[in-house]
Symmetry: C5
Subunit: 155 residues, 5 copies
């Protein structure tokens, strides 16, 4: 049966993260339906994902956001993350949180690159998780990073 | 069917935020019913919103508040925000949190302006979310800010 | 029908806050039943309030406490506050948190005064909330403070 | 009917807190059954208490632990405390948290004394709470501390 | 009846923690079935464990992870830990959190050793908890540490 990926994104973000997630899905050989939900900011993502699961029958969600660089923003993203975990526990389904902090890149160019890479990589992770609980096991303990260089394994 | 927006506000706030929210609704061409709920402070907003959803059949809520500038106030607003997210997850409905910190403006005049703008903008967001999950998609990734100048998109 | 106010207080507090809450109720012209529940400290208040609602049919609760002035106490009161909000969301009923931090007053005399005023004022708020969801609306956005001087409205 | 006190303790703690809790129960004139549950550390206490309530029919629980003195330990104990409050709200039963931080005493001797006193006092509080919701009311607002000297009342 | 241990691990970790957990189970004389679930990072562990309990009938879980050393990582692991406690409370089953912070060792060699020891020790703890609620009581209050030297008991 065709699987559905819910993609929740925000107006606050400064990069069109949805476009990259959609590209990653299109690039894959999978037949996947997309349901999009756009909200103002990261704190609105948890309920958007809950609705994507319950009202739009999504099998997994991507929560895309770019929290700000002020202390208040750090608190907001913490609240958003807690909410996203709670939605997962209420629904028994994964939400991959793809958050890029606005102070994570040294320039707009770097920020754009991190955002695009992380969104692309996590979309592939979502597709893998739809397949089986061990689809990612071959990469376990390998120090994999999305959006930055991998840290690598310690043997 | 007529939609209902719940508006929860506080005595602690220093600006009449309800008035601005009501104006934004009146200015819109939508037929919308308003249910108001006034509580002492931001920590009382979560249960007020839950009651607006469950006892007054609201379709979406605005939680209006102006947390103080002391460390204890920062903790209070964090607790309030967590509660507001939890209400959303329990009810499957959006609450747009419209909080303006008392130390966010440099003067009372600026504080008033931020408060009015943010309340007005988020009321419009609430009206959009009542329409469809992609009503705001045209603004996704555009660095939209409510109450401050937009940050803009990075392409 | 006679309404019931649950009052949860602690042994940790240094002021008999229950006495003030009871006085405010007695001073009002309302016929209100009181159920009291005393626990060791603020972290025990959430379940006490839950029991007041569920086992003693209270319509609203006051959670009275005086958290300490050490970092560990700040964490404790944060946990208590989160719990109190959760109880409200589980029961759909208000709990007015009346907390006075032991470092909030410069002297024992001032601390006593803040505690008494805040407890009295919030008890009146509880009585108002029992009446209707807009009983406090006339004071919305007025910068009302309980236990300290009001901050006032910005027009 | 015989009441049951659940006692959850940890391997991480450096003092045998269970022994003191058992002594306080034995010293009392009450007929009380004890169910013990030992877990690795404080973060394992919440589910242990939940199981004590649900699988072993305990009427109240003591959660005994000695969190470490590093920043990570402060976070752990915060998480444990939140969990313990959540268990209370899920079950409608009290858990008295008896935590002694490893940096709370200036010497091992003082730490041992604080631990023993706090455990003993809170065990008596648990026995009181089993009797009635006002069994502790005579001590409300008296600045009672467990394990340290009482702060006293402000009149 | 054969017991099942769920083991959730991450791609973010830099050590193959699953291998050590499996070895500890193999070294024991117990007949235990293993269900593995691999996710990107620690924040994905809570729902993985929930699924291990509900979809794969696990009796207990190990949540294996190696959070990073930046402030954002500390927040992530806090959120993960809260989620893991919530899963335990929702399911009434233990999850032993085996987290090793990337800044916990002074060298990669030391980090590897801490990780291996902690994973091995907590796997044995999980096996003990499957037996009875007092299987670990002989070690209560002994200052036991997993991955570091024991702190020892204070008598």
């Amino acid at each position: 049966m065709t699987k559905t990926i819910g993609i929740a994104d925000t107006m606050f973000a400064r990069v069109d993260m949805f476009k990259t997630a959609k590209k990653a899905i299109d690039d894959s050989t999978e037949i996947i339906k997309i349901e999009r939900y756009t909200v103002p900011g990261v704190k609105d993502l948890p309920v958007a994902c809950k609705k994507l699961f319950e009202e739009y029958n999504c099998d997994i969600c991507l929560a895309l956001g770019m929290p700000g660089d002020k202390p208040i923003d750090k608190t907001c993203v913490h609240e958003a993350s807690q909410g996203l975990i709670n939605v997962q526990l209420m629904t028994g389904k994964h939400i991959l949180e793809v958050f890029v902090h606005l102070d994570e890149g040294k320039s707009e160019k770097e920020l754009f690159k991190i955002t695009t890479n992380r969104t692309y990589d996590h979309t592939l992770n979502a597709i893998a998780l739809l397949k089986s609980k061990t689809a990612l096991s071959k990469n376990a303990g390998k120090g994999i990073r999305q959006g930055h260089e991998n840290a690598g394994a310690i043997d």
